[in-house]
C-alpha cells in the first residue's frame, strides 16, 4: 500500500480520537441548551476550572494562596498532604455541583424570560469571571495533571499494524481511554435520561417548559441538575484534555472548537454532538494533511471546522440532527 494512504489512515484514526474529545465538550453544551435554551459559552471555562480544581486538590494547594500572600505578605503554597486521585476527582465533582447551585441562585434565577442573546452574554460574563476566579484560586501557571491514566504510544496497535502493513500506527493510549470514557458517558447519560425519574423530568423540561411546570416539575431543581451534569461532563473533558496537554488557559479555548461541532450536529441532539465531533476531528486532520500543509501553508486546523460548518449550514440550517426550525408569523 502506498505510504500516503497508510499515513492518511493513521491521521483518520487520530482524528476520530480528537473528535471524541471535541464531542465530550460539545455534550455539555447540548445538555444545557436542551434543558434551558441557554447557549452556555462558559462550558470550556468550566472544563478548565474543573481541571484546575482537580489538580489543586490533588496536590494539596492552598486556595487563593497568591491573593492571601499579596494581602498578608506571607508565603503559603501547599498543605502538607497529597490527596489520592479518586478522592480528588470526587471532591472536584462536588465543587462542580456547588458551582452549579451558585450559578443557578446568583445568575440564572434572575435571568428567566430574557432574550437568548442576553443569556448568552451572561454566560460569556460567567466565563470571564470563572477564568479569573480559577486563576486567583489556584494560580495561573501551567500544571500537569496525572490521575493515573495510561499515556504514550499504544505498543499493541503499533506492532500489529507494523506486521500487517510494514508501518506502525501511532495511537496515544490516552486517546483510547478518552474514547472509551466518552462512550461510557454517553451510555450513562442515555440510561439516566431514559429510565430515571429525574432524567424523565429533564426531558420533559427540554420538550416544553410550561407543560413541565404544570405537571409539577421544579424548573429550578432541573436547572441545578443539568448544570451539575454539565459540570461533571466538563470535569471529564478537563481530565482528558488536561492529561493530554497540561492544565492551562488554552484549555478553555476548546469551547470554541466545540461550537462548529454543535452547529454540524445540531444544537439539540446528543448523537449529533458525537457524530459532529467525529466528522470535524477527522475532517480537519485530513484537510491539514492533504490540502492545508502542502498547498496553504499549514495551520488550517484553526478555521477549517468553522468554514466546514458554515458551508454545511447554508445547505441544512438546522444541522445534521437538529430539530427542524418551523417559523410562524
Amino acid at each position: 500500500m502506498p505510504d500516503i494512504v497508510l499515513y492518511a489512515a493513521e491521521v483518520t484514526l487520530n482524528g476520530l480520537m480528537a473528535g471524541v474529545l471535541y464531542a465530550l465538550v460539545a455534550l455539555g453544551f447540548v445538555l444545557i441548551f436542551k434543558a434551558s435554551g441557554i447557549f452556555n459559552y462558559a462550558q470550556g471555562v468550566l472544563a478548565l476550572f474543573a481541571a484546575l480544581t482537580l489538580v489543586g486538590i490533588q496536590k494539596g494547594q492552598v486556595p487563593f494562596a497568591h491573593l492571601l500572600n499579596a494581602m498578608t505578605g506571607k508565603h503559603y503554597t501547599n498543605f502538607p498532604w497529597e490527596v489520592p486521585a479518586l478522592v480528588a476527582i470526587l471532591l472536584a465533582a462536588g465543587v462542580m455541583v456547588v458551582l452549579a447551585i451558585i450559578i443557578e441562585k446568583l445568575v440564572l434565577k434572575h435571568l428567566v424570560n430574557q432574550a437568548p442573546i442576553i443569556l448568552f452574554m451572561a454566560t460569556i460574563g460567567m466565563a470571564y469571571f470563572l477564568e479569573g476566579f480559577g486563576d486567583v484560586m489556584w494560580g495561573s501557571d501551567i500544571k500537569t495533571l496525572d490521575v493515573g491514566l495510561p499515556q504514550g504510544i499504544n505498543e499493541t496497535i503499533d506492532s500489529v499494524t507494523y506486521n500487517m502493513f510494514g508501518y506502525g500506527f501511532f495511537i496515544d493510549n490516552l486517546d483510547i481511554v478518552a474514547a472509551v470514557v466518552a462512550v461510557l458517558l454517553v451510555a450513562a447519560l442515555t440510561v439516566f435520561s431514559q429510565y430515571s425519574k429525574q432524567g424523565r423530568a429533564l426531558r420533559a423540561v427540554a420538550d416544553d417548559h410550561q407543560a413541565a411546570l404544570s405537571v409539577g416539575i421544579s424548573l429550578r431543581f432541573i436547572w441545578i441538575l443539568v448544570w451539575s451534569i454539565a459540570g461533571f461532563v466538563a470535569l471529564v473533558a478537563g481530565i482528558m484534555w488536561g492529561s493530554k496537554s497540561g492544565v492551562q488557559f488554552s484549555l478553555s479555548l476548546i469551547a470554541l472548537k466545540a461550537l462548529p461541532v454543535l452547529m454540524l450536529g445540531g444544537f439539540t441532539s446528543i448523537p449529533g454532538a458525537i457524530v459532529g465531533g467525529l466528522i470535524i476531528g477527522v475532517g480537519e486532520k485530513l484537510f491539514e494533511l492533504l490540502i492545508g500543509a502542502p498547498f496553504l501553508g499549514g495551520a488550517t486546523e484553526n478555521w477549517f471546522a468553522y468554514v466546514l460548518a458554515l458551508v454545511f449550514l447554508v445547505f441544512r440550517p438546522q444541522g445534521l440532527f437538529g430539530e427542524k426550525i418551523i417559523e410562524r408569523v
Binding site: 460569556i124 469571571f129 479569573g132 478555521w303 447554508v314 440550517p317
Partner: protein, 358 residues
C-alpha cells in the same frame, strides 16, 4: 423640568426632520461637540490620549458599527475582530502602495474593502439565523486572522510578520508614525467618529434603518410587508463592516502603529466590542458611546486601584480584573438588560418631571 420636549414648535418639514428634533437634545449635542473639539485637544497629553481618549474614540466607531448589525438588524456577529483586521491590513496595503494619497481617503477605502468582505461573510445570514449565525461568523474571525498570518503579501513580506504604519500627514500634521502628537491622534479619530456617528444616526432614522429594524423584529413578517431580506441584511452587513473597517484601520494606523494580527485582532476583540454594544444598549447610538467608554475606563480604573494603590502584583491584578469585568457584565445584564442607554432613558424620564412628580 430639566428635560423638556414640550413647547418646541416646528414651522417647516425641514425643521421637523432634522437629526435632533428636540431643542434641548440639539443644544446638548452642540455642547458635547464644542467640548470634544475645542476644550479636550488643548488639555490632552500622551497618557490620556493613549490610555483613554484614542481607544475610546476607536472602540466607539467599532461599537456603532456592530450595533447597526446586532442592535438594529438583529444579526449577531462574533467576527468583529476579523473585520477590524481587514480594515487594518487594507489601510496598510493602501498606505504602502499609494504613499502620495491622503491617509483620510485610505481609511475610508479600507472601510469600503471591509464592507465588501463583510457582505461576503454576510451571505450565509440569508439562510442561517440566531446562534447558528453567530457561530458561523466565527468562521470569518478565524479564517481572516489565519489568512493575514499565512499570506506574506498582506504584510509586504516583512521578516517579523508584523505590519508597521508608515508616517503620514493630514494638512502637514503627522497622524501616524512615531512623531505623532497626542492631539493629532485624538483629532483625527474624533473627526472620523463624528462622521461615522452622524451617518449612523441618520441611516437608522431613515428608510434603511426602519427596514433593518423590521427584519430584526420578525424577518418573515417584514418580508411579507415588502422588505427585501436580501438587500436589507446585506446592507446591514455592508454598513456595519464599513464602520468596523474604519475602526480597524484607525486602531492599527493611529493607535497601535505596529500590529500582529492574532494579538491585536483576535477573538477577544470580537467579544470586547460585543460587550460594549450589549452593556451600552442594543439599538442605540448613544449606547455604543456609553458602552465603549465604560469598558475602556473600567480596566484603567481597576489597574490604577489594584496595582497603583494596593500594590498587588500585576498578574494577580489582571486575574481580579477578569473577575470584576465578568461579574459586572453579569450584574449589569441582571439589573438592566437593555444597557446604559436604557438608564439614560429612565434618567430623562425622571428629569422631565423632577422636582414635581405629579
Amino acid at each position: 423640568m430639566f428635560y423638556r420636549e414640550a413647547g418646541d414648535f416646528k414651522t417647516s418639514y425641514r425643521e421637523d426632520s432634522q437629526t435632533f428634533p428636540i431643542k434641548f437634545d440639539r443644544l446638548r449635542y452642540y455642547v458635547v461637540l464644542a467640548i470634544a473639539f475645542g476644550v479636550v485637544p488643548l488639555l490632552i497629553n500622551d497618557y490620556w490620549a493613549n490610555a483613554v481618549a484614542v481607544p475610546f474614540l476607536i472602540y466607539a466607531i467599532a461599537a456603532i458599527g456592530l450595533n447597526i448589525l446586532v442592535g438594529y438588524a438583529g444579526q449577531v456577529s462574533l467576527g468583529t475582530g476579523g473585520f477590524m483586521a481587514v480594515g487594518a491590513y487594507a489601510v496598510y496595503k493602501l498606505m504602502t502602495a499609494f504613499p502620495e494619497v491622503s491617509i483620510f481617503i485610505h481609511v475610508l477605502l479600507a472601510g469600503g474593502i471591509t464592507a465588501a468582505v463583510g457582505v461576503l461573510f454576510g451571505l450565509p445570514s440569508l439562510r442561517i439565523k440566531g446562534f447558528y449565525l453567530a457561530v458561523a461568523t466565527l468562521a470569518a474571525q478565524f479564517f481572516l486572522v489565519w489568512l493575514f498570518n499565512k499570506v506574506p503579501w498582506f504584510y509586504n513580506y516583512s521578516a517579523s510578520g508584523q505590519i508597521n504604519a508608515p508616517e503620514r500627514t493630514v494638512f502637514g500634521v503627522f497622524v501616524t508614525g512615531a512623531q505623532t502628537s497626542a492631539m493629532a491622534k485624538y483629532m483625527f479619530c474624533l473627526v472620523m467618529l463624528t462622521i461615522v456617528a452622524l451617518v449612523a444616526r441618520n441611516l437608522t432614522r431613515g428608510t434603511v434603518g426602519r427596514k433593518w429594524m423590521a427584519i430584526r423584529d420578525m424577518d418573515i413578517a417584514a418580508e411579507i410587508i415588502g422588505v427585501n431580506p436580501l438587500t436589507t441584511k446585506l446592507s446591514a452587513f455592508a454598513v456595519s463592516s464599513f464602520f468596523i473597517g474604519i475602526a480597524g484601520a484607525l486602531f492599527f494606523a493611529v493607535y497601535l502603529g505596529a500590529a500582529e494580527v492574532g494579538e491585536a485582532f483576535g477573538i477577544q476583540k470580537s467579544f470586547l466590542i460585543l460587550f460594549m454594544v450589549i452593556i451600552g444598549g442594543l439599538g442605540s447610538i448613544f449606547g455604543s458611546f456609553a458602552g465603549a467608554a465604560f469598558l475602556v475606563l473600567l480596566p484603567v480604573f481597576l489597574k490604577n486601584v489594584l496595582v497603583g494603590t494596593l500594590g498587588w502584583p500585576t498578574d494577580l491584578a489582571a486575574h481580579i480584573e477578569l473577575m470584576i469585568v465578568g461579574g459586572l457584565i453579569v450584574t449589569f445584564l441582571i439589573a438592566e438588560p437593555h444597557g446604559l442607554a436604557q438608564l439614560w432613558r429612565v434618567a430623562k424620564e425622571k428629569l422631565r418631571l423632577w422636582p414635581f412628580p405629579h
